[in-house]
C-alpha cells in the first residue's frame, strides 16, 4: 500500500498547522505500514480550507480540508479505501471556487514541487524562455506590449513600454529588479507565487534580461516573508544547477544571474526608487523622478523594476500567449489579475480572474460575505493606501480606470472586508498613523502631514470642534495628495477621504449648521 500526498509548505498553511499535519500523517502511516510520499507544494489559495491535503488518485487529486493533526487516522483510512470523509472535498480541480477562476499566472501554484526544476518543466515551465531565446529583442518586446500587461504592483504602467525604454538605453551594465516588498495589508499573491511557483518569477526575470540586455537581477523580498526568501533562494540555486541561470543560459549566448536581497521592515521600500536606495545599501529615501529608473536606476544604470506578479505573467505571454492574455479583461486593463480576498471574509484566498469582475461579486458571491456572519460595511481595496468602499459602490468593476473614477485604486489587488462593527474614523486615523510611522521623511507633506492628520482625527473623535477639524483633515489630504513625492504620502488621502465621504456618520457629531437645518 502506498499513497502520494500533497501538503502545502506555504506560510499561510504552515501558520494554521500544515507542518503538524504532515508529521502526524507520516507517523500514522508508519504505524499502519503504509508507504507515504509527501510532496510539499505551494497553496492552492483556498485559505479557509487550509491545511488542505491532497491525495493522488487515478482520476486526479482529491482534496481534504481543513485538516488538523487530530484528523489524520480517519483521513488515512478514507484515502486508502477511497471512502467518504467529513473533510473530503472531491477532486480539487472540480471545486467551484477554483474551477471558476482563470489561472494563467497561478496555473502551477499548489500543484508542483516548488523546489524542482523538472516538475516545473513537466508543467509547461521554461517554454516562454525557450521561445524568447529564439527571438530578437524587438520581437520579445512586441509580445509583451501586445499582451497589454500593466505593472501589477499597483501603478499599472505598461510593462512593454518600460522594458523598451531600458532596451533602448545604452549602458555597460543593466539590471532587472523584482519588487517583492509586498507590504500592503490584504495582499499575499507575491508571497504565494514565490513560495508555490518560484521558477515562474525567475523565468520572467530571465526573459526580461534577455529582452533588454541585462545580465544581473535582484529579487528584493521583505524580511516579513522568511518562507518566500527560503523558497526563492532554493529555486535560484536549482535553476543555476540546471543551467537556467548563470553564463550561457540554456546554451545560448545570453548570461543572466539572480540574487535575493532581504528588506528590513520599511514599508516605503516597496516604492521603486526607495527600493533602489535600499538595494544600494542606503536609507530607503524616495528619489525624485526624473530620472526614471529605466534610464538611471540601480547604481545609476538602466533598470527594469517590476512587481513579482508582472514578471510571473511573462512566461505565459512569451510561450505564445500574448494574444490569449490580451483577450481577457476589459478596457485598458488586459489579462487576468490575481485578486486577494482577506480580512473578515468567509472564503478568503487567491482568486485569479479576468479584469471586469465587480467588487460585489468578489465580496458577496466569491468571498461569501463576512466570517463573523455580520453585514459587510466597508471594503478596502488596494492596501493601506487604497480607498474604503461602501456597499453602494459594489457595482464597481475590477479595472484600473473604473476604480480611479470613483476615487479608489486596485493597487496590488488586495480586498479587505470589514463588518458593521468597524469604526471608520478609527480606520482613517490608522491610515494617517501608518503613513507617519512609515514615511521616509524626505518630503514635508508626507512627514508632517501624516502626524498632523493623526492628531486632528484624534480631536475629531474626541468631539473637539468637529467641523473645523474635518476641514483641516481635508486640507491636509489635499496637500499630501498633490505635494508628496511618492504614493505613500500621495495616496494616504484615499483611505482617509473615502472614510470621510462614505462614512461621515462615524466622525463625531454632525456640524452645527446641518443640525440646525434638520
Amino acid at each position: 500500500m502506498s499513497l502520494r500526498l500533497f501538503i502545502p509548505r506555504d506560510a499561510g498553511a504552515v501558520a494554521v498547522g500544515a507542518d503538524e499535519v504532515a508529521l502526524a500523517l507520516e507517523q500514522a502511516a508508519g504505524k499502519r505500514g503504509v508507504a507515504l510520499e509527501i510532496v510539499r507544494t505551494g497553496s492552492r489559495g483556498l485559505y479557509w480550507l487550509e491545511p488542505m491535503v491532497e491525495v493522488a488518485t487515478p482520476k486526479g487529486r482529491v482534496g481534504f480540508g481543513p485538516v488538523s493533526a487530530a484528523d489524520v487516522a480517519s483521513l488515512l483510512e478514507a484515502m486508502l479505501s477511497d471512502g467518504p470523509h467529513a473533510l473530503r472535498l472531491g477532486l480539487t480541480e472540480e471545486i467551484p471556487w477554483l474551477k471558476r477562476q482563470t489561472r494563467l499566472t497561478f496555473a502551477r501554484c499548489g500543484i508542483i514541487d516548488p523546489r524542482s526544476v523538472e516538475d516545473y518543466r513537466a508543467h509547461d515551465g521554461y517554454k516562454g524562455l525557450e521561445r524568447a531565446l529564439k527571438l530578437t529583442s524587438d520581437a520579445i518586446l512586441a509580445d509583451v506590449t501586445a499582451s497589454g500587461l500593466r505593472g501589477r504592483g499597483g501603478a499599472g504602467f505598461p510593462t512593454g513600454i518600460k522594458w523598451k525604454t531600458v532596451a533602448q538605453t545604452a549602458a555597460d551594465q543593466k539590471y532587472i529588479i523584482c519588487n517583492a516588498d509586498e507590504g500592503d495589508s490584504g495582499t499575499f499573491a507575491d508571497r504565494m507565487i514565490m513560495e508555490g511557483d518560484p521558477f515562474v518569477v525567475i523565468e520572467g526575470m530571465t526573459i526580461a534580461g534577455v529582452a533588454v540586455g541585462a545580465t544581473k537581477g535582484y529579487v528584493y523580498i521583505r524580511s516579513e516573508y522568511p518562507h518566500a526568501v527560503a523558497a526563492m533562494n532554493a529555486a535560484i540555486a536549482a535553476a543555476r544547477r540546471a543551467g537556467y541561470l548563470g553564463s550561457g543560459i540554456c546554451g545560448s549566448k545570453h548570461s543572466f544571474d539572480l540574487e535575493v536581497r532581504v528588506g528590513a521592515g520599511a514599508y516605503v521600500c516597496g516604492e521603486e526608487t526607495s527600493l533602489l536606495e535600499s538595494l544600494e545599501g542606503r536609507r530607503g529615501l524616495v528619489r525624485a523622478k526624473p530620472p526614471l529608473p529605466a534610464h538611471k536606476g540601480l547604481f545609476g544604470k538602466p533598470s527594469v523594476i517590476n512587481n513579482v506578479l508582472s514578471f510571473a505573467a511573462i512566461p505565459f505571454i512569451l510561450a505564445g500567449g500574448a494574444k490569449a492574455y490580451a483577450d481577457f479583461g476589459m478596457g485598458r486593463s488586459r489579462g487576468t489579475m490575481p485578486i486577494q480576498l482577506a480580512g473578515n471574509i468567509k472564503h478568503g484566498g487567491l482568486f485569479e480572474t479576468a479584469f471586469g469582475v465587480t467588487l460585489g461579486e468578489l465580496v458577496d458571491d466569491i468571498g461569501g460575505g463576512t466570517l463573523t456572519g455580520r453585514p459587510v460595511r466597508a471594503v478596502q481595496v488596494g492596501g493601506p493606501l487604497g480607498a474604503y468602499f461602501p456597499r453602494a459602490l459594489f457595482d464597481t468593476p475590477f479595472d484600473y480606470e473604473a476604480f480611479a473614477a470613483r476615487d479608489g485604486l486596485i493597487g496590488h489587488g488586495g480586498v479587505v472586508v470589514f463588518d458593521d462593527t468597524v469604526d471608520m474614523a478609527k480606520q482613517a486615523r490608522f491610515a494617517m498613523e501608518f503613513c507617519a510611522i512609515e514615511s521616509c521623511g524626505k518630503c514635508t507633506p508626507c512627514r508632517i502631514g501624516a502626524v498632523r492628520g493623526t492628531e486632528t482625527i484624534d480631536k475629531i473623535r474626541a468631539g473637539e470642534r468637529v467641523a473645523e477639524n474635518l476641514a483641516v483633515v481635508e486640507d491636509l489630504c489635499n496637500t499630501m495628495k498633490f505635494g508628496s513625492l511618492c504614493a505613500l504620502g500621495g495616496f494616504t488621502p484615499y483611505p482617509v477621504m473615502s472614510a470621510l465621504t462614505h462614512f461621515r456618520e462615524d466622525f463625531g457629531p454632525a456640524p452645527k449648521r446641518l443640525q440646525a437645518a434638520e
Binding site: 495589508s185 495582499t187 516579513e224 521592515g265 542606503r282 471574509i345 487567491l350 478596502q380 472586508v417 501608518f434
Partner: protein, 157 residues
C-alpha cells in the same frame, strides 16, 4: 528560541569581511550581524563604515532608518503581532490588547524580566487567515483568544 553569540570584535570583523565585496552590502552586513549577535552592536558601526568606505554617520543613518535593526538585544522571545488592516478587520486589536494585558507590557516594549519582547508587525501576508502573529520566526494564524493565550504562555517560558 534563537541563540546568539556575545559581541566580539574579531567575529564582527569576519562577518563584515564575508559580505563587504557585494554591491550595496550595508543591509546584507547588518542582517548578518543581527543574526549572529541578536542586535547590531554599536562598535560594529565604525567597522562597517571603514570596510565599505562610508562615514559612520551614513552607516548609523541606515541602521536607524529600518525598523528591523535592533540597537540592543531583544527579550528571550520575540512575539510580533500583526497590526495591519486585514488583521484589524478580523478582531486583531482586541487580541493585541489581550496579549498586552497578559504580558503586562505595551507593544513595542520588553517585559521587565526580559523574557518577552512584544512588537507590532505590519503584515505577514497571512491576510486570508487573519489575525496572525510570529513567535521567534514561527508564523501562527487564525488567532482567537485561546490561541493567543497559548502563544503568550509559550513566550513566557
Amino acid at each position: 528560541m534563537p541563540v546568539y553569540e556575545p559581541w566580539e570584535a574579531k567575529r564582527g570583523a569576519e562577518i563584515i569581511a564575508e559580505h563587504s565585496h557585494l554591491e550595496g552590502a550595508t543591509l546584507v552586513i547588518l542582517h548578518a550581524l543581527q543574526e549572529a549577535f541578536g542586535y547590531v552592536p554599536e562598535p560594529a558601526i565604525p567597522m562597517i563604515a571603514s570596510a565599505l568606505n562610508l562615514s559612520r554617520a551614513e552607516v548609523h543613518g541606515v541602521v536607524t532608518f529600518y525598523h528591523d535593526f535592533r540597537h540592543k538585544p531583544a527579550g528571550k522571545h520575540v512575539l510580533k503581532l500583526c497590526r495591519a488592516e486585514a488583521c484589524q478587520a478580523a478582531g486583531g486589536d482586541a487580541l493585541a490588547a489581550r496579549a498586552e494585558a497578559k504580558l503586562g507590557v505595551k507593544i513595542g516594549n520588553t517585559s521587565a524580566d526580559e523574557r518577552v519582547t512584544l512588537e507590532p508587525i505590519y503584515c505577514l501576508g497571512l491576510c486570508a487567515t487573519a489575525p496572525s502573529a510570529m513567535l521567534d520566526g514561527r508564523v501562527v494564524a487564525r488567532l482567537d483568544e485561546a490561541r493567543i493565550d497559548a502563544l503568550v504562555a509559550e513566550a513566557q517560558q
